[in-house]
């Protein structure tokens, strides 16, 4: 060939998976790869066969169509494969799409593919991208491994080491570095990188990163100013729209929040979480019709995906009850039970939430029967029920005289959220409404005080150097309030302090890591989670950086 083309990559030793629903395209891709001496090529026509192939075999290269018809998309497969560690660290994932789509400019280091290819795919294009990405991934494999182990600090150091040379992917690495800094609680470092990028040019990802920092640190006005700079010019940047909606809600402007979500949905309506968000905001604004449609859309879109959750079903049945459509509400709950039959809490909720509907219909006998049958189950599972469900269930239970169940539910809720004044108020007003003001006050204040007490005693014991006793205390408390973010972080802090003194212990290490990961899920904006992960990582860590 001429000097215009590079030699094709040698793919003879690479195992390759092609995920593409159109057989014509599968054959074309295979033929191109064969011309680069590929022999180990396996093809999948849909998401489920792709996943089962990924489970059985470690592929070096994956070519995947972004749109695979109904059900899971190429993006869903990638995220599941990464989440379940089905890919070797050096693997190259190329996402193929018919056009440039909004989802290509968002996402995090853990959700982006290595590259996007826009159809028509030519041989030169595929070969040059494969060559470049295979080289790049070989260099990034140690970082990928660290990420997989959630060793963000180590990953950060490795990125820094790579940036020291004259790296052709400098800005990819810097973007990754900023994301890792955010994950390790090093907000100032992330800020420096985003500002450096914005000095260079108007890069939406950098402005979004800066806005995330403002949001996490509670500077909602600043966050909204940055986000509006992204969204005002262009409605393709969906992630910025979503964050702007949350920011506007924090600023008390629900009307504007709903408008922003609807704008994002006009660009990309097939997003179950965004539909759910629209439903929640519309419900808060009292726009029940909008809320109902949004929740229905969310349920339909999430049905066969890993994004399905009981939240949309419960919210929908609540709206239907408010609209006096009680048959529909009961129907929604029975669909919850069917669609999520593998989830025992969802099944419990599907039954329990019939109680308010039955009561609303005047079917007191049936409501009472349900409440009595489910009392034990509800008390056992109280810790895992979502706050909205607890609030909707508590008043009917009190009305039915099932006070001990209501107390158990609200008590658990308060101990898990003792620092959440809005929840304390809502719980109190439910008791007051039921004519149980004094009892309510005892329970609500008691539960909150008990939680605060435990925190204080833990801190005091650790200051006195009685780490063992402190850990015993927080460990027992964790069993009673497993979703209290502050307690989880305090417990992890104590475990780490213990190991700093007595050496690393695998069981304690896992316990601490689980606490931090759960706390991060419950309270993503708390940077203490990242800081503690870093401390945990530094414990007796002897990782060596390449020189």
């Amino acid at each position: 060939m001429s000097l215009l083309t590079l030699p094709p990559p040698n793919l003879s030793r690479c195992s390759i998976l092609i995920i593409e629903d159109f057989d014509g395209m599968r054959a074309i891709l295979r033929d191109i790869l064969v011309r680069a001496s590929a022999t180990k090529i396996i093809m999948a026509a849909n998401a489920s066969s792709a996943i089962s192939l990924l489970e059985k075999q470690r592929f070096d290269i994956i070519l995947c169509d972004l749109h695979l018809g109904q059900g899971k998309s190429g993006q869903d497969i990638l995220e599941e494969a990464r989440h379940r560690a089905l890919l070797p660290p050096h693997s190259v994932w190329l996402m193929i799409s018919a056009e440039k789509a909004a989802e290509m400019v968002t996402g995090t280091v853990e959700s982006r593919p290595d590259d996007y290819l826009i159809k028509p795919i030519t041989e030169t294009m595929l070969f040059s991208r494969l060559t470049r990405q295979m080289e790049k991934k070989k260099a990034l494999a140690p970082i990928e491994l660290a990420l997989r182990e959630h060793e963000y600090l180590k990953a950060l150091r490795l990125v820094e080491a790579q940036l020291e040379g004259n790296n052709p992917h400098a800005w990819d690495l810097k973007r990754m570095k900023a994301e890792l800094a955010l994950l390790s609680g090093e907000n100032a470092l992330a800020k420096t990188i985003y500002e450096e990028a914005l000095n260079l040019r108007n890069l939406p990802w950098a402005r979004l990163g800066l806005a995330k920092l403002h949001f996490n640190e509670g500077r909602y006005v600043d966050a909204s100013r940055e986000l509006k700079q992204i969204t005002d010019g262009n409605r393709a940047y969906l992630e910025a729209h979503d964050l702007l909606a949350y920011t506007l809600e924090k600023l008390g402007d629900a009307d504007a929040a709903q408008e922003v979500i609807q704008r994002a949905l006009a660009t990309s309506p097939r997003a179950p979480l965004r539909q759910l968000h629209l439903g929640e905001v519309a419900l808060r604004r009292g726009e029940l019709d909008t809320a109902q449609v949004a929740f229905q859309n969310s349920i339909e879109l999430a049905r066969n995906t890993p994004l399905k959750s009981s939240q949309a079903y419960l919210a929908l049945s609540q709206v239907q009850q408010t609209l006096n459509q009680t048959d529909a509400a009961l129907n929604t709950l029975s669909r919850l039970s069917t669609d999520m039959h593998g989830d025992s809490t969802a099944r419990l909720l599907a039954e329990a939430m019939q109680i308010p509907v039955r009561l609303h219909r005047g079917e007191k006998e049936q409501a009472l029967g349900l409440a009595q049958n489910l009392a034990t189950g509800l008390k056992i599972d109280a810790q895992h029920l979502p706050p909205d469900a607890v609030f909707n269930l508590a008043a009917p239970l009190l009305e039915l005289g099932e006070t001990s169940t209501a107390n158990a539910l609200l008590g658990s809720l308060i101990s898990n959220h003792h620092e959440h004044p809005e929840y304390l108020q809502r719980a109190q007003s439910i008791f007051t409404h039921a004519g149980l003001e004094r009892e309510g006050r005892e329970l609500v204040e008691g539960a909150a005080r008990a939680a605060t007490d435990i925190m204080n005693r833990g801190v005091k014991l650790s200051r006195e150097g009685k780490l063992g006793e402190a850990i015993k205390l927080t460990r027992e408390a964790r069993a009673k309030m497993p979703n209290n973010a502050r307690l989880l972080l305090n417990h992890a802090f104590l475990l780490i302090a213990w190991m700093e003194r007595h050496g690393r212990d695998p069981a304690l290490n896992t316990e601490a890591r689980n606490c931090i990961e759960l706390a991060r899920k419950l309270k993503p904006e708390d940077k203490r989670a990242g800081e503690l992960l870093t401390k945990l990582e530094l414990l007796g860590n002897d990782f060596v950086l390449p020189t």
């Binding site: 000097l3 040059s128 660009t267």
Partner: protein, 246 residues
Amino acid sequence: MPTEHPKLDLSTFLLSSIHDMKNSLGMMANYLEDALAQAPTEAGSQASNTPARQKTAQALYEAQRVNNHLIQLLALYKIDQSFYPFDPTEQSLADLAREALARALPLAESKGILLDLDCPENLFGWFDYDLVFGVIVQALHNALHYTRSKVLLKASASEAGVVIQIEDDGPGYPEFLLEQGNAAQRGISFETGSTGLGLYFADVVASLHQAGGRTGHIVLANGGQLGGGQLAGGQLAGGCFSLHLP
């Protein structure tokens, strides 16, 4: 009783049809490229420019040309409606150049035109890959149409960023195109049959790229490295299209 049709917006059909045609032409281009790639191994290198091969290359060019136009239309529509996901990243110009030249190569070979590349391996620029790729391929196709024997793709660093140039040794751009500086005024020419889409697209793409107070732009000129000489009437020969990106 007349059947009642639900009211439908015709533009929805237009859009989805353009998508469909674009995808179908893309597949056609893929099949034809595949056919070309397999042909020489069967026929042996002696017969690498058979009439069948030439016609396949021509068909590939036509499929690519219309496919490109539809991609440009869709991108322009998205830009106009402000939902094009504009995403400049730092990328290798040599990679871009090679991928674009690969699109033009089958047609160039079938017409016996020499393609040349002048680009340092370590040159990087900030741009939206897909948009700029579309502009370059369009400019290469255009140059192949008018050139006599050669087309040169050149990329270099400039004071403000990077410049990508496509030069040919044809008669050069007609006077009226050089005079009408602003692409928006060029519009549709019924005389030449040109829709003006390509230049308009290039103009829009260039101006989306901004940094440090500078905005990207395109320049049409005659002369250039391959031109060398004047036509009767004093006009410089050799078209030269440049895309300046900050």
